[in-house]
């Protein structure tokens, strides 16, 4: 009788497992391609996690139950068996049949409702998941009841006196018993080790001939299949991208996104539209980047071109001499593209257009401040200077006005 219970409960477990897998997969298939993934919905995710946790609990409880029933079974074989089995069976049958019953209902639900949505997911999916969770809870209650019932009977029995022989027998059984870990690795009980001994003896080292752990072997096969599929995909069918293709897609995607972003932000500044930003906030922002970034390591912290008391690599930015033009547009261009071979790096990949405009404006603003104590010799590297007239400030304003006008006109 009890062995029948064991079998039944195992079958129930199996059926439930398969059923749960299907119910997890169904909504994904049913929803079709537009839905990116069920995992993006927090409610669905919660449900799935809940289902898995409950399933694990069921697994553990079922395992305990099987163990308890097992123990019982052996006791039952002795004369004076109780009629506990008769008691347990209906419970299990009940839980089993309820699974099937509910399963039928669910299948119907899947096909019928697919229109309305609850909590951001299809109603059918919601109901299926809710039902599964409910079912799992129900099974847990049934299992708990069963276990409680079995254990209660056991406790009563323990009061009876136990003989030494019985204890020895239990220990022996324990040695022969295989834990889930042993089964998982297809290990034989330690007591049967002698059967596996190959009789080899190397300086006292013996060798057993255990079977390969199944998960290991099948895992090995799986990696070989993976290898074949991988090579097929990337080098025969070419459905996987090469390194170069991967790069090109990434860049194209990013550029599209950047353009969209800049469009919405309206900060599409370039060397043609840049203007001298005179607002204090903008200049301060420029100053922060100038000092925090590496501008100062070549041009000095004050723009004097003096680094650590020595003439730096970069020219003085506070005087009237420029290597690559002194207008805001020129400075912006120099920052953005750099000067090849002259040590000025292109900064467009480091700073945004807005930031480069701020830096350029800050540099421009340094001009008035001819105060610094340590000053670079006038006209350091002045081969190709572009001197600004004394009425510089006026021209800048004009420049910026023109630029603004241009921008307006363009808009």
């Amino acid at each position: 009788m009890l062995s029948f219970i064991r079998k039944t409960s195992k079958t129930v477990l199996r059926v439930l497992g398969v059923f749960l897998l299907i119910s997890l997969a169904t909504p994904v298939w049913a929803a079709g391609p537009p839905e990116p993934s069920i995992f993006s919905n927090p409610l669905a995710l919660t449900f799935i996690i809940l289902m898995i946790i409950l399933l694990i609990i069921i697994g553990i409880l079922a395992y305990i139950l099987i163990g308890a029933a097992d123990l019982k079974l052996r006791k039952e074989k002795k004369p004076g068996a109780s009629s506990a089995a008769a008691f347990v069976l209906p419970f299990l049958l009940l839980s089993g049949s309820s699974v099937f019953a509910q399963g039928g209902v669910k299948a119907e639900q899947t096909t019928v409702t697919a229109t309305s949505s609850i909590g951001g997911m299809a109603a059918s999916t919601f109901y299926i998941m809710a039902t599964v969770v409910f079912l799992e809870l129900l099974i847990i209650i049934v299992l708990l009841l069963n276990i409680r019932f079995l254990l209660k009977k056991e406790k009563e029995k323990i009061a009876e006196p136990v003989t030494e022989a019985e204890i020895a027998k239990v220990i022996e059984e324990k040695r022969n018993r295989l834990s889930w870990w042993d089964k998982f690795n297809s290990l034989r009980p330690v007591s049967q080790e002698a059967d596996l001994d190959l009789g080899h003896d190397y300086d006292g080292i013996r060798e057993l001939n255990n079977r390969l752990p199944p998960w290991w072997l099948y895992g090995f096969y799986l990696t070989i299949v993976f290898a074949a599929v991988y090579l097929w995909r990337f080098h025969v069918s070419h459905t996987g991208p090469s390194s170069k293709e991967e790069y090109e897609t990434a860049v194209a995607k990013a550029e599209l996104k950047e353009k969209e972003y800049l469009k919405t932000k309206g900060e599409n500044i370039d060397e043609n539209t840049v203007v001298f930003l005179t607002a204090k906030a903008e200049l301060d922002a420029g100053k922060v980047i100038y000092e925090k970034g590496v501008c100062s390591s070549c041009h000095g912290t004050d723009g004097s071109g003096i680094v650590f008391g020595q003439p730096g690599v970069g020219p003085n930015l506070t005087d009237d001499y420029w290597l690559n033009g002194g207008s805001i547009k020129n400075i912006f261009t120099t920052i953005k593209y750099g000067v090849a071979g002259k040590g000025m790096q292109a900064w467009s990949s480091t700073y945004s257009a807005k930031e480069m405009a701020q830096i350029a404006s800050y540099i421009k603003s340094l001009k008035g401040a001819k105060l610094p104590k340590v000053k670079d010799p006038q006209g350091e590297l002045y081969k190709e200077e572009e001197t600004k007239p004394a009425t510089d400030s006026l021209k800048i304003i004009n420049d910026s006005i023109n630029a603004k006008d241009n921008k307006v006109a363009m808009n």
């Binding site: 290990l187 079977r211 990696t223 290898a227 390194s243």
Partner: protein
Amino acid sequence: MQVEKFYYDNKIVKAFGIATVVFGIVGMLAGLWAAIQIYYPDSSLNLAATTFGRLRPLHTNAIIFAFVGNSIFMGIYYSLQRLCKTRMFSDKLSWIHFWGWQAIIAAAAITLLMGATTGKEYAELEWPIDIAITLIWVVFGINMFGTILKRREKHLYVAIWFYIATWVTVAMLHIVNSVEIPVSFLKSYSWYAGVQDALVQWWYGHNAVAFFLTTPVLGLMYYFLPKAANRPVYSYRLSIIHFWALIFIYIWAGPHHLLYTALPDWAQSLGVVFSIMLIAPSWGGMLNGLFTLRGAWDKVREDPVLKFMVVAVTCYGMSTFEGPMLSLKNVNAISHFSDWTIAHVHIGGLGWNGFLAFAILYYMVPRMWGTSLYSKKLATNHFWLGTIGIVLYAVPMYWAGFEQSIMWKSFTPEGTLKFQFLETVTNIKPLYIVRSIGGALYLAGAFFMVVNLVKTIAKGKFVANEEAEAAPLVKEASHKKEYWHRILERKPVTMLVLSLIVVAIGGLIEMIPTFLVKSNIPTIASVKPYTPLELQGRDIYVREGCYTCHSQMIRPFRDEVKRYGEYSKAGEFVYDHPFQWGSKRTGPDLAREGGKQTDAWHYNHMYEPRSMSPGSLMPRYVWLLDNALDTASTPAKIRAMQTLGVPYPEGYDKIANRDLMKQADLIAANLKKDKIETPSNAEIVALIAYLQRIGTDIKAEPKQTIAENK
């Protein structure tokens, strides 16, 4: 049957044991020092010999070949005699092997600190030492095979299979990778160039891990673990399958060090799939180790030897699972060039190799001195200190690697890079500090062991020749029907040949097409050979070990192209003997360094990196400003390059120095404009010439496309 009496040679084991301990501590100290230099550059003492670029190769070579190498020989000399039931084939060869190996280590230490290096990771030693290694390896081989052939045990135990495979594969790897053309006594150029050099080097580099740090140590595990636990080996069947699968598959996996590089995609894919297939064979070793302990786990609680072994085998399992995962391209895109790799190798190095070596020492010393361990408690403390050390080392490095890599790849919504390179380095400085604390704890543990072993030795009496007896091997006319592999286990020479065939396949299939098929390395017309000055500068770059912190390989990623420029092409490296792609970016990539900075910037930066980039972790290279360039070597270098197929015009070696001085004068004049006075023959001038050249050839081709893109 008459039982024969014979003696095991314990003296040679003792010698290798002492060498293991001494070089273990030396190697770890070098590592600790290098680790401290990363966050405290001035601890390099600003001396050429003790700067990171030279100290790091010293650390890796000392750990791999001196510490683990000696520990392998120690274990093999102990176990092989006992597994073959005979004394070593020749005491004389044993001692030639021992002293030869120690001489190689000493020569390696001196030459590496002098800056004599081939610039290929874990194969840095120059050609005379390479030849010495080959000779000593042959001596070891003869001694080992002699012992195996005169054995009193009919079959070879699994440990010996691993020893045989190790010997034959290391010989193959070492010889193929060390093909180089000598220029002078301590300078040579790799025979291979660029992509091909990279493929050969990482075929070697990866399999140095496989066949120097893994297979021999697995062999040791197969002997010492069942002995220490007194349990039978879990599965003979598993031994066979995992042994053959492991040695066959391992060889192929080298290209996983070159994912997303200029190596052809097909070779990269082979590296990926074979790495994945490597999981099970590697885990076979771990399972055979851990399941052997079944029924002995209560002993693990008591016995420090078993404690060390369990952690060692577990670390082996972890890193051989992590390795294949890192070989997946999408994971590798994050891990490569970052500290993640450093964490990964140290799980293997500190956990697997280190702990197993300690376990063997704790096991053997009391037995060879006929006593018991001085203090179990001290050994247990060593165990815990070491374990905490590993955790404190690895966790910050995983964290640092992941964080830095994510920072490299961060963009602002405007599409600009969010962080400058330097920011990503200074950000992980605290983690570097924690890492060195972890390393220091591990080293402290090793000192505990020294005390414990010295005290143990003091209370025992050394048994130089251990008595043993066994029946001689008799030739049986007919064997009853044996399992096929048992037949193989009786035939060591067949085993050797078969191992060689199995390990040769992967390398051949990957290398031959890369060398012979032209389409694998498309030529770029504008790529020209280096000028004599640039060539000299490049040799300085190699000598100072710049490749230990700077890569020269821009991968086709959006962030790398943004940060460094056009991604690297295979055709760009055809004159690079050796290739200098590097494997770690503590500093930025230099593949497109040419023209990015002025000559003056480089000059100042070499003198004091922090003057040009505040907060930089780079050491100072003050001696480059003072040293005079050795122009006498130029003709020989040009001739060597010509032999290697670099198209310098006929007779160019005679006029090369003239061109060299011309270019040097130009650079010196250029520096003068920036108020820097330097003689044109200073080493720094040659280095600047090289740095200004790197990666610029390709720019000569499609000039306007770059401008148009912006």
